[in-house]
């Protein structure tokens, strides 16, 4: 590449591919383009230990879908070297810029050759991100890789993005598209043998995260309802800088989407106490991977109540007090009462509707009570009784009024029947009097 013809040739070669590789799914043309392909796709040349250097037909087909290939990049653009020479020595010369990966630990910098270079990335994207490699080294994967660059079980770029068929992140078929991402992570993180003996921050890594997450409400929303805003692994753990959120940053992770609740929690004494005793914020009550849709049963001191896990009599775990227990009971009662009243109002409105009475206005007003209930449920996370009671009282008032309206309508229905029954009285009276009058008249026919 140092010689002038070499440079000119390289430049021409660089300009030709984009025009030639216009159609999708076309197997890349061989020979003229890149001499690398000639040797590296020849099945007779590679065997045994060097088999991994063979680029199979399948991989060539995948390359056609590769986002780099589609943008015109070829073998030498990533691997370096001289694509014009058949001579191994020249093709793979270090002077020709050939970059070899000797260990898995070399992969991030290999990709980073372009992806961490702003000048290069700017050619393809006006505002590129070039911090992925730096981020990677801060991640759990990166830290493990630094310790042992030969470790083939630690994830690097290729583990998640693939190598010869890299699709764009927003491509539906990409292994890192939101609906596939968890599976990709699970390839290693659900593999017991791979996770064996590994730890982060002194805690052993488990291998049930994917299994748990699949049961969660987030997974349900993402995979069944198709709500792409529902979180998967990277939304809480990060992408390239993936780490389990620290005890004090769990609430922040959740609070990215659950803003209101996060703000409420951040202002409480509980939050700081949790940090002191190293309890993982939101996950303490809501779990971290198998997060379910919260129910009212979670609040309080009874069976499923999470408060009771710590605030128990005779169990000074974490120094938990009992005054909180009473507040929890009251909150739960308040929620239950409002919920019950709303349900009753809904029932009576339905009954009234079935009887043919108009119920649209009460239904609309009742929604305000439902909104209050939702509001109260988030206010639980402020762990303060008074604001919650205020909201609950308002909601209860609305629900009670609408319930009464519904009962009124039902009553009106019955009132109508009574009124109609009464109207039969003058009718029967007329009939009776008419008969009397007819009888008074002379009998016809004589």
């Amino acid at each position: 590449m140092r010689t002038l013809p070499g440079i000119l040739l390289a430049i021409t070669l660089f300009a030709v591919p984009p025009a030639l590789v216009a159609a999708e799914g076309e197997p890349p043309p061989e020979e003229e383009e890149s001499k690398c392909i000639t040797c590296h796709t020849d099945t007779e040349l590679w065997e045994g230990e060097q088999l991994h250097l063979l680029v199979t037909e399948k991989q060539m087909a995948e390359l056609a879908e590769d986002v780099h290939w589609k943008k015109g990049l070829r073998c030498h653009d990533c691997h370096g070297g001289d694509p014009t020479s058949f001579r191994t020595g020249d093709a793979h010369a270090e002077e020709a810029g050939f970059r070899m990966m000797e260990a898995p630990g070399d992969v991030p910098d290999f990709c980073g050759h372009c992806h961490a270079d702003i000048a290069v990335m700017k050619r393809y994207n006006p505002s590129p991100r070039t911090d992925q490699v730096v981020e990677y080294w801060t991640s759990g994967h990166g830290q493990a890789m630094k310790k042992n660059p030969e470790d083939a079980d630690v994830a690097q770029c290729v583990s998640c993005h693939g190598h010869h068929g890299i699709r764009a992140v927003d491509d539906l078929k990409s292994p890192v598209f939101p609906t596939h991402l968890a599976e990709t992570c699970a390839k290693c993180h659900s593999d017991e043998s791979r996770m064996k003996g590994r730890e982060y921050n002194g805690k052993e890594l488990s291998h049930d995260q994917y299994e748990l997450w699949r049961k969660s409400v987030h997974a349900r929303m993402l995979l069944e309802k198709g709500d792409l805003s529902a979180p998967t692994c990277n939304d809480c753990h990060g992408n390239h800088g993936a780490v389990p959120p620290d005890v004090d940053s769990v609430a922040n992770a959740c609070g990215t989407c659950h803003v209101k609740v996060g703000e409420l929690f951040a202002g409480t004494k509980m939050r700081h106490r949790f940090e002191e005793v190293k309890l993982p914020g939101c996950a303490t009550c809501h779990n971290h991977h198998d997060i379910q849709h919260p129910t009212d049963e979670m609040l309080g001191m009874e069976a499923d109540g999470v408060c009771g896990r710590c605030h128990q009599e005779g169990d000074p775990k974490y120094g938990a007090t009992l005054t909180g227990a009473e507040a929890a009971r009251k909150m739960r009662r308040g929620l239950d009462d409002l919920d019950a009243m709303i349900e009753e109002a809904k029932r009576n409105l339905k009954k009234a509707e079935e009887l043919g009475m108009g119920v649209q206005k009460p239904r609309f007003e009742l929604k305000k009570a439902s909104d209050a209930l939702t509001n109260a449920r988030s206010l639980v996370h402020g762990f303060a009784l008074k604001p919650m009671e205020e909201v609950l009282d308002e909601g209860l008032q609305v629900a009670t009024v609408q319930n009464e309206t519904a009962l009124e309508r039902i009553g009106e229905y019955h009132f109508r029947r009574v009124w109609l029954a009464l109207s039969l009285v003058p009718i029967l009276l007329v009939v009776g009097l008419l008969l009397l009058y007819i009888r008074r008249r002379p009998i016809p026919g004589r």
Binding site: F364, K367, L429, V430, L433
Partner: protein, 157 residues
């Protein structure tokens, strides 16, 4: 006709009672019919257009409060005024999980507090989980004699 001797009072009594009873039944028939004919209050159900329960100069009102969503055919309708002075109406139900959005005049956006969804003043979902924009309604005005105090009429597009 009558060759039967009948005291006049008896016949009058009977005829009188009969007329009274017939009159009552006729009234019982006519009253519902007249009530039926009398125009009803503006329809709530299946409404194609509804007059907002506030006037054009109450956005916001003198206390700086913006009106809450009102009932538009069963759906909550939020009416706002853009910084440019244009009055717009939207269906306030968030397209993500059906929470009610709130208008944030100082930020010039709608916020859904449930999962932090944000819509701009055109109703477009610009941030957060909402998959679709807010449903937009058409706004018309009816003068009331006092300029600035027009009635706001919201209808489906």
């Amino acid at each position: 006709m009558g060759d039967e001797p009948e005291s006049p009072e008896r016949r009058t009594w009977l005829l009188g009672a009969l007329s009274g009873a017939v009159g009552t039944t006729l009234a019982a028939i006519v009253y519902p019919i007249v009530s039926f004919l009398w125009p009803r209050e503006s329809t709530e159900s299946g409404a194609m257009n509804v007059v907002a329960p506030f006037k054009a100069n109450q956005l916001p009102d003198s206390g700086g409060h913006w009106p809450p969503p009102f009932d538009f055919g069963g759906k909550p309708c939020l009416v706002i005024k853009t910084p440019g002075g244009e009055i717009r109406a939207f269906n306030a139900v968030c397209t993500h999980t059906d929470c009610t959005v709130q208008f944030q005049p100082d930020k010039g956006q709608f916020l859904c507090a449930c999962h932090n969804g944000i819509y701009d003043l055109n109703g477009f979902n610009v941030s957060g989980p909402p998959p679709r924009p807010l449903e937009t309604y058409k706004v018309d005005f009816r003068p009331t004699g006092t300029p600035g105090e027009e009635e706001i009429i919201v209808s489906r597009t």
